[in-house]
Symmetry: C2
Subunit: 625 residues, 2 copies
């Protein structure tokens, strides 16, 4: 990875902010974190004789010391550490409230992008309430909540600040309480502090599901290598790189401890770690910019796909190879080598799009030395233009391919197929109505004919992702109830997400389908177990499809077809974040429902709590037949 990481410097004080900033920039930092108000300027508004007098002193340094562009881009304002909005002593709390609002208002006056608040107590209700008060105002800076990976009392003490002592329980729990109390607002993010002690793997993974914007690295966590250079232990390196993958900014905090070398060395080391990260996989490369971005699922049956969409499909380096392999084996099995020159195999590509599976069929036949006749059935009139041109002009196609303009569910075929090839799969397997289309098409498949794919199964996994929850909850669907955004599935490249268990199978469909009458509704409950106390925000959806015998396509993490990028996972939110305890059970029931016009899913979390059936009657989301 060639891009550099943005690094800032955390300071406990700055008497001359202009000098502090230019010093830091000189060393290669891009921003500084400084207190909004001088640490020793503690204000008394309540229960104090001097209350009124002190109010005439200026609160802090003048805004003229920097230009507005600098305030906005290069300064993170830190809220005074003595502020304790949850103090049990009333005048401390009331003083803290006044001081807090004064500081936040001043940060807003300076148009800072971020302010940072150190979260030291589990009881943070009143902090939450006072933070919420500001973030309903769009001009308020983003709030960075500073929490250590593991409780700091087990770790070093940073500065000699006049500080609240920190409570010792799990900092994640503390953060989670704050964020839940703020109704999972997306304007509240994490500035996570690396600690000498580290949580276990699941503890780290849990943090990677949270909206971490910055990773704070104390100089005290560095150790000296043989050449006397400050470096991180190899476990710490891995953790830092895990967060770098989430595009966090880095903040260096603490004194210059390793005096043999210049302060600069810390920065160089961080950039070095970034550059050592593995090169992006094809999937990462392909999905750049789409991470955690919610897309409405395509409806290729009801709508017509665009040219650009087909183009993206066709770039997949793996999918067509696997199809070609499956077709190759099916053709080879269907006609023995003896009959290879005499028996023709009829291959029908249903939903041919712009033809890549037709080409794959032709190449497979050539490799297998079998004679084939190909039909390309497609209902999208625009894609048919491409198909007809290929049939007329392409050397391999000419004379071998018959293009049919029809919906496969109603086409009256003149002969029957040996092999039906299709790719009508959505991110959740059946969600683009492959079952309904193929059930319609199997009328023209021979009794012993083969369908490629022969089956597909959707997979489900509970996940935690405040980011996706917040995005869904404000996803506005025109003319629908505002809450419908939480009862709709999305296609999304999952990044800032923590899976709470391994994915499990949900609904399976087989083709051809000899059931009478065919029933494509489904109903199933699945249970999971969360290894840690976590907050559930919804479910990830994947699929596994057997093309032919042991050749398969999969987006399920454990069996993902390497390098295949045609499908991002699905995200199915729930109405309300739900906390599950360590080792707690998560149960969900899914229905696949049908009306004469539509298909849709309904889902209901039932454990740890029952949230009610989501998307009843497809009120928020349905797929048109």
């Amino acid at each position: 990875m060639s891009e550099r990481v943005i690094i800032g410097r955390d300071l406990c004080n700055s008497s001359d902010i202009s000098k502090t900033l230019s010093d830091a920039i000189g060393k290669g930092f891009e921003f500084v974190c400084v207190p909004l108000v001088h640490p020793r300027f503690k204000r008394e508004f309540f229960n104090s004789e001097t209350a009124l007098k002190e109010r005439f002193l200026p609160l802090t340094r003048s805004d003229l010391t920097l230009i507005s562009q600098e305030w906005n881009s290069n300064v993170v304002g830190k809220i005074s550490p003595w502020i304790d909005l949850d103090s049990k002593i009333e005048h401390v709390r009331l003083n803290s409230e006044k001081a807090f609002h004064e500081e936040v208002n001043y940060a807003q006056h300076l148009a800072l992008s971020c302010i940072m608040i150190d979260l030291k107590k589990r009881n943070c209700l009143n902090l939450a309430k006072n933070v919420l008060q500001h973030i309903s105002n769009k001009l308020t800076p983003t709030i960075w909540i500073r929490v250590p990976l593991v409780s700091r009392s087990r770790n070093m003490n940073l500065f000699g600040d006049e500080d609240l002592t920190e409570e010792t329980e799990d900092p994640w729990d503390r953060w989670n309480t704050l964020h839940l109390t703020c109704s999972t607002s997306k304007r509240i993010r994490l500035a996570l502090e690396l600690t000498a002690d580290l949580p276990d793997t699941e503890g780290i993974l849990r943090w990677t599901g949270e909206p971490v914007n910055a990773l704070i690295i104390p100089t005290s966590v560095f150790i000296l290598n043989k050449a006397n250079y400050p470096v991180l232990s190899s476990v710490h390196q891995k953790v830092v790189q895990k967060f770098m993958a989430l595009n966090v900014q880095i903040i260096i905090t603490g004194y210059h401890r390793h005096s043999v070398v210049s302060f600069n060395t810390y920065l160089q080391y961080i950039q070095h770690l970034k550059s050592k990260m593995p090169a992006p996989t094809p999937i990462e490369e392909h999905s750049k910019g789409f991470e955690d971005y919610l897309q409405d699922p395509l409806q290729p049956l009801m709508d017509n796909l665009e040219s650009g969409t087909y183009e993206v499909f066709e770039k997949d380096p793996i999918k067509y190879k696997l199809y070609q392999e499956a077709i190759y084996h099916a053709i080879s099995d269907r006609v023995t080598a003896d009959e290879a020159d005499t028996r023709e195999t009829v291959v029908m590509v249903v939903g041919a799009g712009r033809g890549p599976l037709v080409t794959a069929s032709l190449i497979a036949a050539k490799r297998a030395r079998r004679i084939i006749k190909v039909y390309a059935i497609e209902k999208n009139k625009n894609a048919l233009v491409t198909l007809r041109n290929l049939a007329a002009d392409d050397e391999m196609w000419r004379g071998r391919v018959t293009v049919i303009s029809s919906d496969m569910r109603t086409w009256e075929a003149t002969e029957k197929a040996d092999i039906l090839v299709s790719e009508l799969l959505g991110s959740f397997g059946d969600n683009e109505l492959s079952p309904e289309c193929l059930d319609g098409a199997q009328r023209f498949l021979k009794n012993d004919g083969i369908s490629i794919p022969e089956s597909y199964t959707s997979y489900l996994c509970p996940l935690s992702s405040p980011k996706l929850f917040a995005a869904s909850s404000s996803a506005s669907l025109p003319f629908k109830h505002p809450q419908s955004g939480l009862e709709t599935p999305y296609v999304v490249r999952l990044l800032n997400v923590n899976l709470l268990d391994k994915p499990k199978p949900l609904f399976t469909f087989h083709h051809p389908n000899h059931q009478k009458p065919i029933d494509n509704t489904r109903y199933k409950s699945v249970s999971f177990r969360s290894p840690k106390k976590s907050t559930i925000h919804g479910f990830a959806g994947y699929f596994f499809s057997t093309l032919y015998k042991d050749i398969y396509l999969s987006t399920v993490p454990e069996s993902h077809s390497e390098g295949m990028f045609s499908w991002f996972p699905m995200f199915l939110p729930i109405r309300q974040p739900v906390v599950v305890e360590e080792n707690g059970t998560i149960s969900v029931t899914f229905w696949r429902c049908q009306s004469p016009r539509d298909v849709w899913y309904e889902w209901c979390l039932t454990e740890p709590v029952n949230l009610g059936i989501h998307n009843p009657q497809g009120n928020a989301y349905k797929i048109g037949l």
Copy 2:
């Protein structure tokens, strides 16, 4: 109570519905509950050779056997008892689904008002899903879910039906799961069956918080009295009357068991029980028609009250007596008997409305034989018309009362008061901004002056009420987010509600207030314990106000001022129903918040789960200053 109760007859079969109905009406019943389809007509849609043949038989009796008015008013349709939507055997489930929809559709075709479903299993997810499918259609009859008070397996067996055997766990739990899964839909109600065994008091109370529409009484629960008449035991009588108070209908089920007397006797006995109920209290009388009806709280400061509203206030038989008593003691204490003829007491009624507290002051002075001078301060120009007329014409007022047209917060008084009398209390105590008004008025109260009231405290209690939850969730606030109905307080006469603990004090205000600077914001957490597993839907709010020394006004159930009906309680909902376990803790935090223009409450349930801060920044509800 003179009104009669509506009684219906439950039957396991009816071969001639027209005769069945006229027989029942002849006996004094007003409706019958009959199966929608003949019990022996079990249909097979799946996995059956005969599937297609049977479909040509008519489903059930013709709709011509009754006129539409009768179907609509006199018949409750019962869903076939063999239908098992949650069967683990797939073809049973699929058959059940088809049959269920056929029956519900037929009930809708007949325009029945209700259909009844017997809930026998705890796993009722798929039943919930299929019920939801119908109730999004406004034409679908109301769904009555039939459940026994305690599990029937501990009780008698009713008919020899081809029946599912019932599961033994708590029927409330079963019902609660169904209702939660249906997102607490208000179209799903209870038909609760009285059983020989009864739950404990808290178990009964829990049912009275549920939306019970009908109480089913099996003939087998009756016992014979000395005169050989079927009667209910005295505990059963109390339970029946508890539900009668919720205006339920009664359904008699089971055979005619007590053959010495005619079937009629059961009905007469039920009507007798109804007539024996205690006469309505003044509060019940006064609030008739307002039970569980959500009203927006008044804003007497920002808005002007109407004449009719004052008129309703003035009808309270208790409130003014208590004020008069308080003023009487205050005046007597203020001036010794020696000075009674020489020292004048200045009483200022602030927010005088149409003058009842002025009159109360004058009567109190007469009783105490003290000289008083009364000021009546009011900001509502319309009420001032009444006050000015009284001051000119009323014999007791003339020469003694000065009427002032002003906001008490800004009036420049020409002399100071000995006693400030006001009634600016809302259902939640301070919610009509009494603190802010009186803090403004105390400028013209003598240093040793008295405020009546001298203090008030709001009280809070968690409650269960699917009915109030459903009503709040569909309360539409113009131009606001649809969910804001769940973040707004309401004034409501609570009836179909179960309090989950005793009310506890929240915010207290004292007058005169010598704090400097005065701070009327508040912040407090309160915890409760639920004696049973229950579902929390919000909080009831009350107040207790000390007028003077030991004279008080209270709407808190334990100390309610007898006969006083001026204030209904408050209801503060939560966003989502939350299940609390038996003996589980319920914690909530409340804030009273202020801006220069408004006052509002924010609240956050934190235990058993954290639902996020409600009404942040007063986005859904605020009170104008």
